[in-house]
């Protein structure tokens, strides 16, 4: 490497437009490409298995693509629909609390084969979900987990000092509200069924669903009606 890469002042753009990269003979660093990261053992395993399945004709490339597309299309709006229905239909709520996967199927939502439980927030009782061992998450109902959910900081702290963690998310719970943390360590996933916020009397189901965000379904936030 004998180029002048880092020998001169990179921020010295004589006469050029820095925004257009015309300031000199050098180039600014790029955002790294995906392939610039390390190729891990699990990435290699995934690629190898996919290649084998394709090579043996067990699945087609389009089938593989479509499946990935379907998984990636899952998002928290699915969970929000369940919550909104439960808020307006007590019988549905009872079925949701008994069996989330079956209740989701009623609305045409495929929540997958791993059992999901709904944990219900009530006055004086707040629920939060974590997986301290890894990052278990009801992804077929809520989509991909946020990065912070998988981070060691959240996983280790939320079982140890949930109130401090909630406060960092902007949710300050008074002492008289008991906090219940659900650690999804086994083959069971959780979604939070939050309380219906005040000020939403008479709202339609679809409008209610817009209040239920991903973070409400994990339990680090509460749905709030917009200020009138």
């Amino acid at each position: 490497m004998t180029t002048h890469d880092h020998e001169h002042d990179h921020h010295h753009h004589d006469g050029g437009d820095p925004g257009r990269g015309e300031g000199g003979p050098h180039r600014h660093p790029f955002q790294p490409d995906l392939e610039d990261g390390p190729y891990s053992w699990h990435m290699a395993l995934t690629d190898a298995v996919a290649d084998l399945l394709l090579a043996k004709g067990l699945i087609g490339a389009d089938e593989l693509r479509r499946t990935l597309e379907e998984i990636d299309a899952k998002n928290p709006a699915l969970g929000a629909r369940l919550v909104a229905r439960a808020w307006v239909d007590p019988a549905f709520k009872a079925r949701l609390l008994a069996d989330v996967n079956a209740a989701a199927a009623e609305l045409g939502i495929d929540a997958g084969g791993i059992p999901i439980r709904a944990v219900e927030c009530r006055p004086g009782e707040h629920h939060i979900v974590v997986c301290t061992l890894c990052s278990c998450y009801p992804r077929l109902l809520l989509g991909a987990a946020p990065d912070w959910y998988k981070a060691r900081a959240y996983r280790s702290r939320v079982v140890r000092e949930p109130r401090a963690v909630l406060a960092e998310f902007g949710l300050n719970l008074p002492e008289e509200v008991r906090v219940i943390v659900h650690d999804s360590t086994a083959e069971l996933r959780f979604m939070v069924l939050p309380e219906r916020p005040a000020g939403t009397e008479g709202w339609e189901e679809d409008r209610l669903a817009t209040l239920v965000t991903r973070d409400c379904l994990i339990g680090v936030a509460r749905p709030r009606a917009p200020l009138a």
């Binding site: 059992p115 109130r163 008991r178 943390v181 360590t185 086994a186 083959e187 069971l188």
Partner: protein
Amino acid sequence: MSGPRFRPGQPVRVKALYPPGHCRTPFYTRGKRGRILDMVDVEPDPQERAYGRPGLPPVPVWRVVFAQRELWPDYRGSDQDRVVVGIFEPWLEPVEEAP
């Protein structure tokens, strides 16, 4: 195979074992007492499956409710705060009392 060993509300302790290899029992629960909430399911034993074995017959998994102050004696928050954890039955033993 006998039936499920526990009933809801029963006080239990998580065994304070530290076996090598993979298991699904969080360290912070080991040796701690809690109460049975319910039986989740029966599942293949993850400590077997981690080594490519089938883990059969499946093992009951119980949800156990722990008082935060049992888990962390210096816990800051309400005495009523709880953590609920799914524990595989071989890790649980009955005890007389649990907070």
